[in-house]
């Protein structure tokens, strides 16, 4: 209704684009990663073409190129990450050709493999998490274009009968891929490990959401992917900001960093909480919608995902406690800098806005993807 004048369906690609560009901007500014500036501009231009393309072939071909740009930027820092992105790019290119030649089943599988590689679904997560370990800004940038990839998947290939038939299987696989990293998150001994598990857990959720979308829950899947990408991006940036100040962060004892970094602690808690469905943020709405969609496919899958989400929440608060609470430790490093605060505020505002007014994205998404 909000966009009735210009047509709700026409707005959906641009909302996805706006969120993706915000993440690109956040990763570059928040990480002071000037060397990613040029690739970022190129990726943003390609994303504009990709998400607005009325033709699936053009859209997928553009996003294949985006994956290769990410891979070229990443190869200096993480070979595994670059290989993973190249494989995702090849899968996306195959999807483009398959869509062009009306082989929708092939396009569906190729697109799904690309999403799994890019989102870090266990056990295909090694590339993405290694990229995050080495250069967090690039990982956040590739999450931005993963969002666009999910959008194309929901728009062009997820309406096929194959998607309908495979939905329960994908949901179960996604649910298991959600639960396993969530369990592993409980016993992590350093913050980087917790972040790796968080990425993999959200990858599993994304796969389950994309699977459930096969039965028509397109808007729910899109909201889950937006929330996942924004939340993980924000959380990852805070983890990196902390590591830049404190080095490798152990979870073995209490770190007591809250007094030294109060804003960083608050932002860390916010993005961590958002990822596990805190009310007032898009995470809550996404979880709510997602679980209803999931229940229709598989009750067991729903139970596993709910359990996974609860375990990750416990691991997140354990991580927060171990990093920020405890006897205060002094640090000469500053709290969040202005640029970092700006980025945190931008991502937080997006998450809260979508949490309070979810129809902002759900309406246009349902109008475009449901048709």
């Amino acid at each position: 209704m909000l966009f009735a004048a210009i047509g709700e369906a026409d707005v959906a690609p641009w909302i996805v684009f706006a969120v993706s560009v915000s993440m690109l901007f956040a990763s570059t500014v928040g990480q002071h990663a000037r060397y990613t500036l040029l690739p970022m501009v190129l990726v943003a231009a390609l994303l504009a073409v990709g998400v607005s393309a009325a033709d699936g072939m053009l859209g997928y071909a553009t996003l294949g190129l985006v994956a290769f740009v990410h891979a070229a930027t990443a190869v200096r820092h993480s070979r595994i990450g670059a290989i993973s992105l190249v494989l995702a790019g090849i899968s996306t290119a195959v999807a483009a050709m398959a869509v062009g030649s009306d082989h929708v089943v092939l396009a569906f599988w190729a697109s799904l493999v690309a999403i799994a590689l890019r989102a870090g679904v266990m056990p295909l997560h090694f590339g993405v998490v290694h990229l995050g370990d080495k250069v967090a800004a690039l990982q956040a940038q590739q999450f931005a274009s993963t969002l666009a990839l999910v959008f194309l998947h929901l728009r062009f290939v997820d309406h096929h009968p194959t998607a309908y038939e495979l939905a329960p299987i994908l949901v179960r696989i996604g649910a298991v891929a959600t639960l396993l990293p969530a369990l592993a998150a409980l016993v992590q001994r350093d913050l980087r490990g917790l972040y790796r598990c968080t990425v993999a857990m959200h990858g599993g959720m994304l796969l389950a959401a994309v699977g459930a979308a096969g039965h028509g829950h397109y808007a729910a899947a899109l909201l889950v992917s937006v929330t996942t990408c924004l939340g993980v991006c924000g959380f990852g940036l805070m983890v990196s900001a902390l590591e830049q100040r404190a080095g490798r962060v152990s979870l073995e004892g209490l770190g007591g960093r809250f007094r030294a970094f109060p804003r960083l602690g608050a932002a860390f808690a916010f993005f961590g909480a958002c990822g596990v469905g805190m009310p007032g943020t898009a995470g809550f709405i996404a979880d709510d919608l997602f679980l209803h969609a999931l229940w229709e496919e598989s009750v067991l899958g729903t139970v596993l995902v709910v359990l996974g989400s609860a375990l990750l929440a416990v691991a997140t608060i354990r991580g927060y406690t171990r990093v920020f609470l405890g006897p205060p430790c002094a640090s000469p490093a500053p709290d969040l800098l202005l640029g970092e605060r700006l980025v945190a505020a931008l991502l937080a505002i997006l998450l809260v806005l979508l949490g309070v007014v979810p129809n902002l994205i759900l309406g246009p998404a349902a109008a475009l993807l449901g048709s």
């Binding site: 993480s78 967090a136 369990l183 016993v187 804003r263 009310p279 229940w295 609860a310 205060p328 809260v352």
Partner: protein, 450 residues
């Protein structure tokens, strides 16, 4: 007096939104300012919001009382919060006696505690954090009170959980509050699984999560209703610290006294009971769950009474005394005495908040006046061996936490196995890559973080 009735929808929104808006404002000011946010900013913003919330709640209570014309009762619909295809979460608030009583009680106690904390926590380093969490708690409580749909209620429920965990870890320089905070949050979150699954199941089976639509569960098979009611009960047990989840409540006393009073004396600990009052049609249709609820409530009352008698600290004794009363209320609700339970809840909350807030003075007085001589009980004179055993068991709180830890040990073992396997696979996949990239770059792009 029709003007009063016209005010009701706006007041309902104000009770929830005012504290929520204050939290957002203080958080934004804290994020934007160069210096630490002053006590005054937090105090004024949150204080005004709590006053607005209390006034709005009082107006709704007056309108619902029927003193000024026909009493307001029923759903107040604000459209759809989110709507996708046939799925909709209504933005609906429900005005009835339990809602009005719980809302007014919570708003009044929160405002009172806010006023008390102004002097109690003056110059405390976490003063601003305390008021932000208080605002978050107030918004969550009012949402729980007036929610007309289970999804909305869950949103408020979660806010209570997050704020409670953060309050317990308030004195973050000490290790024990940090550990207690994680334990309380873990209990909440695991038990919330029941609430969440029950919401989804209710929606799928009766087509709505509106509380007013719950009587439709009577049409469902008893086994289905029993399963859903059991999930709601499971969730309530965690929030209200009933057996076997009682261990977190005494640990929660690590938080500041005002928050202990509000959460574990006044409002939060009763939230589980309020949930059961809300979903009463579900419980009513599941006699087996009612029976289990009565049994757990009475067992908790006995357990907590015995433990309270061996506690040597004031707040610990109060925590167990609270548990005993909450256990009795659970038994009352599950036995069908809902009005009695609501009355009990109100009286208990008021008394307990007063006791918690007075606890520091009471300790001071006890030191000044001296302790009362303990008279041997009937049991210790007639059955000294049994009395000793009971005393020892109560002193160790029946090793409840150790038993729970042992129960979840296999889960952690599985988690470690998954972690080790994942790390081995990752090491295999990465072989050579880490050393190659580090050699080429000479340094980490994060600025030497690794």
């Amino acid at each position: 007096m029709s003007e009063l009735l016209d005010l009701v929808p706006g007041c309902l929104v104000a009770t929830i939104a005012a504290p929520g808006a204050a939290v957002v404002c203080v958080a934004l000011i804290a994020l934007a300012s160069r210096e630490r946010t002053s006590e005054r900013v937090a105090l004024v913003l949150v204080g005004i919001a709590l006053a607005v919330s209390l006034a709005a709640s009082a107006i709704v209570a007056l309108a619902a009382s029927g003193l000024f014309g026909p009493g307001v009762e029923g759903e107040v619909d604000f459209g759809a919060w989110l709507s996708v295809g046939s799925y909709e979460v209504p933005a609906v608030l429900l005005v009835d006696t339990p809602a009005v009583v719980f809302s007014l009680l919570a708003a009044a106690l929160t405002a009172l505690v806010a006023r008390f904390s102004k002097t109690y926590l003056h110059r405390e380093p976490g003063f601003v954090r305390f008021y932000v969490l208080l605002g978050m708690f107030a918004a969550g409580t009012q949402l729980v009170a007036f929610a007309g749909a289970l999804d909305l209620m869950f949103a408020g429920w979660e806010l209570l959980g997050w704020s409670s965990a953060l309050f317990i870890g308030f004195f973050h320089e000490r290790a024990e509050p940090a550990r207690s905070s994680v334990r309380a949050f873990t209990t909440y979150r695991i038990c919330d699984i029941g609430f969440l699954l029950a919401i989804v199941a209710t929606h799928e089976l009766i087509g709505s999560t509106r509380i007013a639509a719950l009587p439709a569960v009577a049409l469902l098979p008893t086994s289905v209703t029993t399963a859903i009611a059991a999930m709601f009960l499971f969730s309530a047990l965690g929030k209200s610290a009933q057996l076997p989840f009682s261990g977190w409540l005494p640990r929660a006393m690590e938080g500041p006294t005002p928050s202990s009073a509000l959460f574990y004396g006044g409002v939060s600990v009763h939230a589980g009971l309020y949930l059961l009052l809300r979903v009463w049609p579900m419980l009513e249709a599941a006699p087996a769950v009612e029976f289990v609820g009565v049994a757990i409530g009475l067992s908790t009352a006995v357990y907590a009474t015995l433990v309270a008698r061996t506690n040597s600290d004031a707040k610990g004794t109060l925590a167990h005394a609270t548990l005993a009363q909450v256990g009795l209320m659970l038994a009352e609700i599950c036995a069908g005495y809902r009005e009695l339970a609501l009355l009990h809840l109100t009286g208990h909350a008021l008394l307990r908040v007063w006791q918690y807030l007075r606890a520091p003075n009471a300790i001071h007085d006890a030191h000044r006046i001296g302790h009362e001589h303990v008279v041997p009980s009937f049991l210790s004179s007639s059955r000294p061996h049994l009395a000793k055993r009971l005393y020892a068991a109560a002193l160790h709180r029946w090793r409840l936490d150790e038993r729970l830890d042992r129960a979840i040990a296999p889960v952690l073992g599985l988690a470690r196995w998954i972690d080790v396997t994942e790390r081995r696979l990752a090491a295999f996949v990465r072989a050579g890559d880490d050393s190659r990239t580090n050699d080429r770059r000479g340094q980490d792009p994060r600025g030497g973080a690794s």
